[in-house]
Amino acid sequence: MSFLQQALAIAGKDLRSEIRSKETVNASLSFALVILMLFSFAFDPGSDQVREISGGLLWLVYAFAGTLILNRSFARELVNDCLDALISSPASGAQLFFGKCLANYLLLMVVECVSFPVFIIFYNARWPARWGLLFLVMLLGTWGITVIGTLFSAMTVNLRLRELMLPTLVYPMLIPALLGAIRLSTVLIAGEALETDDQIWFKLLAGFDVIFTVLSLALVEIVLVG
């Protein structure tokens, strides 16, 4: 089987398991809605201030809710030694990792696509005219979060303090990607024109994704097996 076939098989397994149980997506979605509500107490929704921080708000919600999905990613395999079975299967560490990334990515995109209209409604924002570009930003930013989160999920899966360690390790790593996503989202949601300066953020997001995907694929075997 080719690399992609193996990865897709693993992604399919994860997605099928998630569709049947719906535990992670439900929890993540509820958490996203709770955070949106909590932020409404901190900032006056509908004001100009919210327009300035809209991108930041959105990506904080995505990052926090995403951690729930990413944490479960490898943790769900601990039961009945499934992780050991997966590692000893013919699929290499990189294939296992990539498959899990694909599954997490899809789940995270679902949560984001559902929470975005809710954000628009709660904060009286207007649907962005260039929603296509905004969707591209979401695609790029989410892949960054997924790749880093899945690798660190693999790293922390066997630790006692797994739920504590994952956010502590992941969030500082994600800062460049979040910065770019936040900046671009704020501009696009506000309906402003993208300056030439802002195009650098697209390059940063793409570069971040490529660098850390390659690095993760190279090192994940060491993390999982040794």
Binding site: M155, N158, L159, R160, M165, I175, P176, L219, V223, G226
Partner: protein, 227 residues
């Protein structure tokens, strides 16, 4: 032999630091715009360079461990990270105190301070991961991977926050107010840098010895339980 090196470096570093204190307080005049507080630069900048260098040195040692699988590389990486963490803390706090006088505020999200704070957080993550894993080989392996990721991330973080802050200019942290420094005033920075590097080396060597001791304890414990 190693003990002699440690002793020699400590004495030398102590001498240079004492001599520098003399230079800083008695020879160098107060800076025109900043006054006395500018002398903090003599600790702030060398600490900053030392802590930043720590990331890259630790990464090289981590790569060395992954290739050679020798736990001594892991000890070096861990020791360097710990010492660099101490120096990053010094950088942040001295920078904050300097800012309190110059800008009137304890903290600002200037790009250098922000980047250094992120470096500090990455170090914290590394040290927490080390504490969380008991098995030495697993610990070495996972911390090596984390160190490589952290180093790559530091470079990207530094550049991206610089771009972010040039788009949204905040207060400009210029340790050097205007171009450069008068020649007499710059020399103590580099002497202090030498002294702090020696101090850092001493601390790293001591920590490495402790890591070797810990390895010996682990081996003996395994041997004892084999009976």
């Amino acid at each position: 032999m190693r003990l002699k090196i440690i002793l020699a470096l400590s004495v030398l570093s102590g001498l240079i630091l004492s001599w520098n204190l003399h230079t800083m307080f008695l020879k160098v005049p107060d800076e025109l715009n900043q006054g006395a507080i500018f002398r903090i630069i003599y600790f702030h900048v060398p600490s900053a360079i030392t802590s930043f260098a720590g990331f890259f040195l630790a990464m090289f040692c981590s790569v060395g461990y992954l290739i050679k699988k020798d736990l001594r590389f892991d000890s070096v990486a861990a020791s360097i990270t710990e010492v660099s963490f101490a120096f990053t803390t010094i950088t942040l706090i001295t920078g904050s105190i300097w800012g309190r006088i110059i800008w009137g505020i304890w903290w600002t999200w200037d790009y250098r301070l922000t980047s250094f704070f992120i470096c500090w957080l990455l170090y914290v993550g590394y040290l927490m991961l080390r504490r969380a894993i008991d098995d030495p080989t697993t610990r070495a392996r996972l911390c090596a991977v984390l160190s490589i990721f952290a180093c790559v991330d530091v470079v990207i973080v530094w550049k991206s926050i610089e771009w972010f802050r040039t788009q949204h200019p905040g207060p400009v942290l210029s340790i050097r107010s205007g171009g450069g420094m008068a020649p007499g005033m710059e020399a103590p920075i580099w002497w202090n840098f030498l002294a702090l590097m020696m101090l850092a080396t001493v601390l790293v060597l001591i920590r490495m010895r402790q890591e070797a001791m810990q390895r010996e304890i682990d081996t003996m414990r395994r041997y004892a339980h084999a009976f």
